[in-house]
Amino acid sequence: MYAVFRKELADHLSSKRFGILFILVLLAAMFATYLAVQNIRSVVTSDTEFVFLKIFTTSGETLPSFLFFLSLFIPIVGIALGFDAINSERTSGNLSRLLSQPIYRDSLINGKFLAGLAILGIMIASVIALVAGLGLRIVGVPPSSEEVLRLIAFVLLSMVYGAFWMALAVLFSVFFDRTATSMLASIALWIFFFFFMSMIAGTIADARVPIDQNSSLEMVTKNFEIQGMIGRISPCTLYGEATSALLTPELGSLNPALMMISILAAGRMLTPLPFSQSLLLVWPQVVSIIALAAICFAVSYIRFMKEEIRSI
């Protein structure tokens, strides 16, 4: 498996695809960070804690935050790393040649997946490190140990999220013979989850519990709860909620309505949660993303292992 892993890693690192994506993510990250640093003064007061984390969550006047850019690009990187993992080997005639070498069949899919995961890790960690470095230089406030911990958790979570999209793309690459089909299927699913899922959740919630300006607090809360519940079918929502809670320690709940009610009741921003509490808060989301990635990989693994070689 190590030989497959090494070859795949080398292929990714020397590929134009990786280069283009890395530059794109880096440019977007740098731009978002620069804008965040410009606006950070307006959101930070003298008693604001976790100033360093604001670099990642503060948006510009017209442009979204680094966090948003990352949540947009991670699925694209994941899909780019996995959509042709198996079917390209099959169509190029490499698969039967490779499998006639003294390796187990699962070494191929495992090696490819691990190499993709390593690339995701390198890309995400280096982008976040660069942004952190840039922010540190401009803002001049060093991160506290808790902020560092939160950033490490953020990197790991982003890797798991990327792994889900890569596993999904690998799954399609096992099921579909053509690389174009597996890429389109992966992108279609990403568009659906990223753009349409929240709209669908909102429509269903409004149909179940209609709200307007005169609606009671109970109705609004219920509407938001339904929206949140349906929205959590999407891994994009799960990732968004989990990263928001990790990078915004003040977030005491993942339900925006409950959060708003708490702030209104307290009359000020809430006390930040310690890291362990934030981690507990996002744990269901983290486990769900891990489970989704594991399911996708397991299905592609079983299908690939059981596939009759004559069709390969």
């Binding site: 030989a3 497959v4 090494r6 070859k7 292929d11 190029s92 005639g93 490499n94 698969l95 039967s96 040649r97 490779l98 499998l99 006639s100 070498q101 003294p102 390796i103 187990y104 009759e308 070689i309 004559r310």
Partner: protein, 309 residues
């Protein structure tokens, strides 16, 4: 010769369709075995079972003393396979592609580098060793495939249509390569629809039809069984053909049968007797107008067995 491949009642069924049906096949060490049959006869399925890439539905199989289903890695370490549609990583060079195969076979870097250079020279690709595979012609890729198969220094090699899509000169090169591999002691299973190529290099053949092995053995023996007579058929045009001359030819050592019709003389024999026969004709005072010799055509044998199947 020792048996390197032995199958007993080997059967493979896909969704109710029997691709290989109770196959009893024996391949001997060091021979070039022609594995023939029409498309869909079950040749590739058989090879995949012999390599441990697909599991037999029933029956037993032994390759180089191992069971490929239970010990696939042991089999794949010493058995090479060149698929019909061999593919390489187009963006890697010929040398890098072989390097990856060497790595998959756990060869040490230094040993691998030396062996790869040797193999590239053997298949005549030293000049293009550092060119990307996308720049190579079909024939070159096929030769690279043969080098790829040899990286692991196999005892047994399966070549599935190794000459398909190659120009005549390239075919000659590939056939020479195969023959040289056999001279080095590698057993070769050669699958091809090009029967004249099979006849040229194979010592024995097996004919598969609808999953059944309908014939197996040396070409001349199969020919004798299917068509009759000897391995060679000599046809001579003779002026003044007489029964006495026919009798004289029948007395030549090695002649199995001689028949005359008009000025044509048909002789069946197991070796090339043109010299002796010409002498008998000339000595008898007849005039030899022409002579041609034909070996058993594998095509005729193949058609005969396929038709029977």
């Amino acid at each position: 010769m020792e048996q390197i491949v032995e199958t007993k009642n080997l059967t493979k069924t896909y969704n109710g369709f029997t691709a290989v049906d109770r196959l009893n096949l024996t391949i001997r060490e060091g021979e070039i075995f022609g594995f023939l049959g029409p498309n869909g006869a079950g040749k590739t399925t058989t090879i995949l079972m012999l390599l441990g890439l697909t599991e037999p539905s029933s029956g037993t199989v032994q390759v180089c003393g191992y069971n490929p289903t239970r010990e696939p890695l042991k089999v794949k370490r010493i058995v090479g396979y060149l698929p019909e549609k061999v593919g390489f990583y187009e963006d890697l060079t010929a040398r890098q592609n072989l390097g990856y195969t060497a790595e998959l076979n756990n060869l040490l870097r230094r040993e691998a580098e030396e062996r790869i250079s040797e193999l590239l020279a053997t298949v005549g690709l030293s000049q293009v060793a550092d060119q990307e595979v996308r720049e190579l012609s079909r024939g070159m890729k096929q030769r690279l495939g043969i080098a790829d198969v040899l990286v692991k220094e196999p005892k047994l090699v399966f070549l599935d249509e190794p000459t398909s899509g190659i120009d005549p000169e390239g075919i000659e090169d590939v056939l020479k390569l195969i023959t040289s591999m056999a001279k080095k002691g590698i057993t070769i299973v050669f699958c091809s629809h090009q029967l004249h190529q099979v006849q040229k290099i194979c010592s024995r053949v097996g004919i598969l039809a609808k999953g059944h092995l309908v014939a197996e053995g040396q070409i001349d023996r199969l020919g004798k069984r299917a068509i009759g007579g000897g391995r060679y058929r000599i046809e001579a045009q003779v002026a003044r053909l007489s029964p006495k001359l026919i009798d004289a030819i029948r007395q030549v050592k090695g002649v199995i049968e001689a028949q005359g019709s008009g000025d044509s003389l048909l002789i069946s024999c197991n070796r090339d007797l043109r010299g002796q026969i010409s002498k008998v004709i000339v000595d008898s005072g007849s005039l030899l107008l022409g002579m041609k010799i034909e070996e058993y055509s594998l095509e005729r044998i193949y058609k005969k067995y396929s038709k029977e199947a």
